[in-house]
C-alpha cells in the first residue's frame, strides 16, 4: 500500500515534469506576446510525429531526434507567427488574447485534419529497445523513459533560462515582456522578439511531443487534451511565469496520481479540471503569480 502510494507519487512527479514542459512553450509565448495559442497541443502532436517518423523511417533514436524536432517546430512556429499571429500584434491586449485564441482554434481544426490526412488516424508510439528498463530505489521503480522526461525538462529549463538571462535576444525578450512599448522605444525590434519567442515556444512544444510519443502515444486528435493540460498548468503556475509553470506541472501530475490512487484513475483528468476551475475562480493570477502578473 505504502510502496504503491510512493510509486504513484513518483510517477505523478515524473509525468508532472512532462506537463510542465508542455506548458513551458505556451507560457513563454503568452508571457512575451500575449498570444493565447490553443493550437499548442497540435504543435506537441507535430513534434511527436517528427520524432515518430525519424524513428520509424530513419531509425533515429527519439532522444537523438530532439534537435531535428526543434528545428522543424521552430520553423513551423516562425511561419505561423509571420502568416497568422503577427496580424494581431497591434490590437489592444484584451482583444489580442481573444483573437489569437479564436485564430488558434481555427489552426487546431486545420492541423488536426491535415494530420488525419497525412499521418492517418492510427495511433502511433515510439517503442525503443530500452523502454522497459528501469532502476529501483527504495522499492520504487523508475522507468528510463519517465526519468528521461525529468532530465529533458530540466535541461530545457536551464537552456531557456540561459537564453533569457545571458543572450542579447533573451534580454530583449525579457524587456519586451515587461513593457513592449518601452522596449520598442529602446530600439528593440518587437517583431523579431515576438517571432523568436513564438518559434521557441513551438520548439519546446515539439520537444514535449517527442516525450509524449515515447511515453504515451500520438494521434491527430490528441491536441485538445494536451492544450487543456498546458492551460491548467499555465494558470496554476501563473500566466507567463516560467519557473511557476514547472511547479504547476508537478502539482497537476501529483493531483492526477493521487486522484488515481485514492479515488479512481477514471477521474484523474476531471480532478485536474476541477483544480483548474477553482484556481481560476479564487486565484486567477495563479498559485505563484503575483497580483499584477
Amino acid at each position: 500500500m505504502l510502496q504503491s502510494l510512493g510509486q504513484n507519487l513518483v510517477f505523478g512527479l515524473l509525468v508532472g515534469a512532462l506537463y510542465g514542459l508542455v506548458a513551458l512553450g505556451l507560457s513563454l509565448i503568452f508571457g512575451v506576446t500575449k498570444f493565447l495559442n490553443v493550437a499548442h497541443g497540435e504543435l506537441v502532436m507535430f513534434g511527436g510525429y517528427a520524432s515518430f517518423y525519424a524513428f520509424s523511417m530513419l531509425g533515429l533514436d527519439p532522444f537523438l531526434s530532439i534537435p531535428l524536432t526543434i528545428i522543424i517546430l521552430f520553423v513551423l512556429g516562425a511561419i505561423l507567427y509571420r502568416l497568422v499571429f503577427s496580424r494581431t500584434i497591434k490590437l489592444p491586449e484584451e482583444s489580442k488574447i481573444k483573437n489569437t485564441l479564436l485564430v488558434a482554434f481555427g489552426l487546431s481544426v486545420i492541423f488536426q485534419n491535415l494530420a488525419l490526412r497525412f499521418f492517418t488516424a492510427d495511433e502511433r508510439g515510439i517503442t525503443t529497445s530500452y523502454f522497459s528498463q528501469a532502476f529501483t530505489l527504495g522499492g520504487v521503480r523508475f522507468p528510463l523513459p519517465k526519468v528521461a522526461i525529468l532530465v529533458v525538462t530540466v535541461i530545457f529549463l536551464i537552456i531557456l533560462q540561459l537564453i533569457l538571462k545571458k543572450t542579447y535576444t533573451g534580454k530583449a525578450i525579457r524587456a519586451t515582456t515587461q513593457n513592449w512599448e518601452a522596449a520598442s522605444l529602446m530600439g528593440i525590434d518587437i517583431h523579431k522578439v515576438y517571432l523568436l519567442s513564438f518559434a521557441m515556444g513551438a520548439a519546446l512544444a515539439g520537444v514535449a511531443g517527442t516525450l509524449v510519443a515515447v511515453n504515451y502515444s500520438i494521434q491527430p486528435s490528441m491536441g485538445l487534451g494536451w492544450t487543456m493540460k498546458a492551460l491548467i498548468v499555465m494558470v496554476l503556475g501563473g500566466l507567463g511565469n516560467i519557473p511557476g509553470t514547472i511547479i504547476g506541472g508537478l502539482i497537476l501530475g501529483l493531483t492526477e496520481s493521487t486522484t488515481s490512487f485514492f479515488i479512481s484513475s477514471n477521474y484523474r483528468e476531471v480532478a485536474g479540471l476541477v483544480l483548474f476551475l477553482l484556481v481560476l475562480i479564487f486565484r486567477p493570477q495563479g498559485l505563484f503569480g503575483s497580483k499584477e502578473a
Partner: protein
C-alpha cells in the same frame, strides 16, 4: 425603409413556408436529414451568438448545455416520462446549469471565462462518459418517424431566431451589447454587467438545451457523452463567426454554409471541408470580424456607391449647378 421591411417580411414568410412544405414536396429522407442538420447547427450557432456575439462573452463550453439538454431528455424519456415533459426538461435543466455556473463563471473576465467554460465542458464530458458509458437507444424504434422530428427542429429554430431578434431590440438586448462594448462603461451607465451576462447565458443555455432535447428525440442511438464533445462548441462558434457574430442572420448563413461545404467536399476527399472552414474562420477573425454579413454589406455599399456615382455624373452632365443628390 418601410418598403424594405415589407419585402423583408414577405421573404421571411416565403422561406418559412418553403421549409414547412419542403418535406411534403421532397419525400427524400436524406434531404430532410440534411435540413435537420442545418437547423440543428442554426440552433446551436444562434444560441451561442446570444452570449458570444451580442454580449461579447466567448463561451467555449456551449456543448455543456447542449449535452445536458440531450442527456436530461433522453434519460427521462427512456425511463418512461411522457415525451413532452422530458423534452421541456432538457431546456430547463440547461438553464439550471447556467444559473449554477453563471455567477462564479462571470467572475472570470475575458479569456478566463473562455478557458473556464472550455474546462467545464470537458469536465462534464469526461464525467458523463464515466458514469453513463452505455449506448442510449431510442425507446420507440419501431414507430420512428422523420416528419415530426423535422417539424420539431423547424419550430424550435424559428422560436430561437424570433426570440433572439426580439431580445436584441429590447432594453435587455441593448444592455447586453453595452456590456460587450465595455463592461466598465456599461456599469457606469447603471447597466449591471453580471445581470445582463446571466440573462444572456440563461437564454443561450436554454436554446442549446432545447437543441439537445431535439437531438435526443431525433437520434436513434448515441452515447450520452457524445453531445458534450468539444466539436459541438467549436463548429457552431466558427459558423457564427463566419456568418457574422452579433447579427441575427450571421449564424444562419454560417450554418448553411458549413453544411453546404461539408456536403460538397466531405465525401470526396475526406475532411477537407474542415480545413477550408478553419482557414476561412481564421481569415474572418483576422481581417473581417463582421463575417460574411459584413462582406455582403461592403459589397453592397460598393455597388450603391458605384451606381450613385454614375447617376451623379449623369446628373452633373445634364443639369448643371444642381446639387440635390443625397448621400448616404
Amino acid at each position: 425603409m418601410k418598403k424594405n421591411n415589407i419585402i423583408k417580411l414577405i421573404l421571411i414568410i416565403v422561406v418559412v413556408a418553403l421549409l414547412v412544405v419542403l418535406p411534403l414536396v421532397i419525400k427524400n429522407d436524406s434531404t430532410i436529414n440534411l435540413v435537420i442538420l442545418v437547423l440543428l447547427y442554426i440552433l446551436l450557432a444562434s444560441s451561442w451568438n446570444i452570449l458570444g456575439g451580442y454580449t461579447g462573452q466567448t463561451n467555449l463550453g456551449h456543448a455543456a448545455f447542449f449535452g445536458v439538454g440531450s442527456l436530461t431528455t433522453r434519460l427521462l424519456w427512456v425511463n418512461g416520462v411522457p415525451f413532452l415533459l422530458s423534452f421541456l426538461a432538457g431546456g430547463v435543466v440547461a438553464v439550471i446549469l447556467a444559473l449554477i455556473i453563471g455567477a462564479p463563471a462571470f467572475k472570470l473576465r475575458g479569456v478566463y471565462f473562455a478557458i473556464g467554460t472550455l474546462a467545464l465542458a470537458q469536465m462534464l464530458n469526461l464525467t458523463v462518459g464515466n458514469i453513463l458509458p452505455e449506448m442510449s437507444y431510442n425507446p420507440d424504434l419501431a414507430n420512428y418517424q422523420l416528419l415530426p422530428r423535422y417539424y420539431l427542429f423547424l419550430g424550435l429554430t424559428l422560436i430561437t431566431i424570433l426570440t433572439a431578434a426580439i431580445l436584441v431590440k429590447s432594453r435587455i438586448g441593448l444592455g447586453m451589447m453595452a456590456v460587450r462594448e465595455g463592461e466598465d462603461a456599461a456599469e457606469s451607465l447603471g447597466i449591471s454587467a453580471l445581470k445582463h451576462k446571466l440573462i444572456a447565458l440563461s437564454i443561450s443555455a436554454f436554446f442549446a438545451g432545447m437543441a439537445g432535447a431535439a437531438f435526443a428525440y431525433y437520434h436513434v442511438s448515441f452515447y450520452y457523452y457524445m453531445p458534450f464533445g468539444s466539436e459541438w462548441t467549436f463548429d457552431p462558434m466558427m459558423m457564427a463567426y463566419i456568418g457574422g457574430t452579433g447579427t441575427i442572420i450571421g449564424p444562419i448563413i454560417g450554418a448553411v454554409f458549413f453544411v453546404l461545404l461539408k456536403q460538397l467536399l466531405v465525401w470526396n476527399v475526406g475532411e477537407y471541408h474542415l480545413i477550408i472552414f478553419g482557414t476561412l474562420f481564421i481569415l474572418i477573425v483576422l481581417f473581417l470580424p463582421g463575417g460574411l454579413v459584413e462582406i455582403w454589406q461592403k459589397f453592397r455599399t460598393f455597388l450603391t456607391k458605384k451606381t450613385k456615382r454614375r447617376k451623379k455624373v449623369l446628373l452633373k452632365a445634364t443639369i448643371q449647378n444642381e446639387d440635390g443628390i443625397q448621400r448616404e
